[in-house]
């Protein structure tokens, strides 16, 4: 048994991609399958260097379709497997992700958002929210975490494997090119030393005789009614477990608000900083940050949103997060403004300026 990569706690200063690579090893992932695409490449670079030391495996596949399907294969074989992609690669991976959704295969995928659509930029965006939450030809029975700093990249990578294997829905860590490439400090740790139980994977294919029964897995059905039953029961289970998975954070949302800023991922940092400064100037502003985009913290947001005079949707996309928010808030009488910057970073100054502008009206 190879030694543990992280012993004790270590404060480090590294790029987001490197953090994720270390976290997957700490989570006892077995195999990474991947294909080069900026800005996730360094996850592969670090994994291939760490792999032989800790008994891990890697294959660079011929493309993202293959990376997604080989990851599925590895998971069916009973190993913790993951892949990482971005942009056009994420688009391609929707085919294998659909299979994972239908068949309840616990894959983990790291998405480092870049500009879109098509090749666009290799740099940054929050434009893969729709794709990652509801891509493919299904109903979005997936779990999506949106981290905002390197400590969370580490924590939620480990959590992604546990969530996937416990609840059996494909699980995504939705990062972005800025988080991937920037350096900031965090504390790395061994999860078991902190009392975090690492869920053990189970074999679906390969030990049938030993088990005494064979698994026959399929994703094709004959009649409409058959499919209906399957989808409805998947939805029921998804709704039942959602409260155990949903995560969100609120900043200065305790009393009535003039403006409630809603943002996720790295943009949440700018929103937090903006709220802090605006509060110092006497503005009654708060920030709601969904951490899970799927399942979305619907009830929690509804409760807070109703205490706000105006909502402000802030994202580096043209309304992709806002769509999820609007669905969650359906039926409520609310006023909303937007700060959409598709493919562009958003600073706290811009958020402050916007809040002040909409507060005048």
């Amino acid at each position: 048994m190879a030694e543990k990569p992280i012993q004790g706690e270590k404060r480090v200063f590294m790029t987001g991609n490197e953090v994720i690579a270390w976290a997957t090893v700490a989570a006892q992932a077995d195999v990474m399958y991947g294909y080069p695409i900026t800005p996730q490449n360094e996850i592969m670079h670090y994994w291939t260097r760490l792999a032989p030391k800790y008994g891990k495996t890697f294959l660079q596949t011929e493309d993202e379709l293959s990376a997604g399907f080989t990851t599925i294969g590895g998971v069916l074989a009973g190993r913790k497997c993951f892949t990482a992609t971005a942009g056009p690669g994420n688009t391609l991976m929707q085919e294998p992700f659909s299979m994972a959704e239908m068949m309840r295969i616990p894959i983990v995928a790291i998405i480092q958002q870049r500009g879109g659509p098509s090749t666009a930029t290799v740099i940054y965006s929050q434009q893969e929210v729709t794709l990652t939450t509801f891509g493919g030809n299904g109903e979005g029975h997936r779990i999506v975490y949106s981290p905002s700093n390197h400590q969370e990249l580490f924590d939620y990578t480990i959590k992604s494997f546990n969530t996937a294997w416990k609840y059996r829905f494909p699980t995504f860590l939705l990062g972005d090119g800025y988080q991937a490439k920037m350096r900031e400090p965090l504390v790395m740790y061994d999860p078991e030393e902190r009392g975090i139980e690492l869920i053990k994977p189970e074999v679906s294919l390969g030990n049938g005789m030993e088990k005494g029964h064979y698994n026959h897995l399929r994703n094709t059905f004959n009649t409409e009614e058959e499919l209906y039953e399957i989808i409805m029961s998947m939805q029921e289970e998804y709704e039942r477990i959602a409260p155990e998975i949903i995560e969100y954070q609120e900043y200065n949302c305790d009393d009535d608000l003039d403006v409630l800023i809603i943002a996720h991922g790295v943009v949440s940092r700018a929103a937090q900083e903006a709220v802090s400064k605006l509060r110092d100037e006497g503005y009654k502003v708060g920030h709601f940050r969904p951490i899970t985009l799927r399942p979305f913290p619907e009830q929690e947001l509804r409760a807070t949103a109703q205490r706000a005079k105006k909502l402000l949707f802030v994202e580096s996309a043209y309304g992709q997060m806002a769509k999820l928010v609007k669905e969650a808030l359906f039926g409520l009488q609310l006023e909303a403004e937007t700060l959409y910057r598709p493919g562009v970073g958003i600073t706290s100054d811009e958020v402050i300026e916007k809040v002040k502008a909409i507060s005048q009206q």
Partner: protein, 186 residues
């Protein structure tokens, strides 16, 4: 108070190394620090830019619209970094630059020209040019002390210094010279 530093130069001038050392040193001192490089599709060519933020509070966005200080090490870097300059920005550029000088910002708080390249070539060594720049940045911003910078250099290059102790002296001298250049320019 967050200090926002933008360094820009040609690939090979060591812009990213300076930024990394600076951010790591600040992190070592227990301050909040973020460093992110610019990156586009081209492997080579194009201006290399590094964005560093150092603060005592948590830092928001990894990039910024306006810098507190801009360091431009090549002609092309001057127009490329114009967007990060406003009335509160200190703009530093290398005295050896002869092109794109018409693009020097008209709206900056101060413009400083420092002969870092010349000092590197004639006094010390071209290979420590970026350490001179590191000295200049810390003198202009006081984000870390020269001693803290020296221990960051030690952490990064200590193994090389161990093999060739004269490299340590060279690097430390380069750091001090960078500090001096900014103090003299003021």
């Amino acid at each position: 108070m967050t200090i926002k530093i933008a360094l820009a130069g040609e690939g090979g001038q060591g812009v990213q190394s300076v930024a990394e050392i600076l951010a790591e040193a600040a992190n070592q001192e227990g301050r909040e620090a973020i460093y992110i490089p610019n990156f586009g599709v081209e492997q080579r060519g194009g201006v290399s830019i590094a964005y560093v933020q150092i603060s005592d509070e948590k830092i928001g966005s990894p990039k910024f619209k306006i810098a507190d200080i801009v360091i431009a090490l090549s002609g092309r870097s001057i127009p490329r970094t114009a967007q990060y300059v406003d009335a509160n920005t200190v703009f530093v550029y290398d005295a050896a630059i002869e092109d794109h000088l018409d693009a020097l910002p008209k709206n900056a708080k101060r413009i400083l020209s420092i002969p870092a390249l010349e000092v590197a070539k004639n006094e010390l060594s071209p290979r420590v040019f970026n350490v001179i720049i590191l000295g200049a940045v810390i003198a202009a911003t006081n984000v870390i002390t020269p001693d803290q910078a020296k221990s960051a250099l030690e952490a990064k290059l200590g193994h090389k210094f161990a093999q060739k102790p004269e490299l340590r002296d060279l690097n430390y001298r380069a750091l001090e010279r960078g500090v001096e250049l900014v103090q003299q320019a003021e």
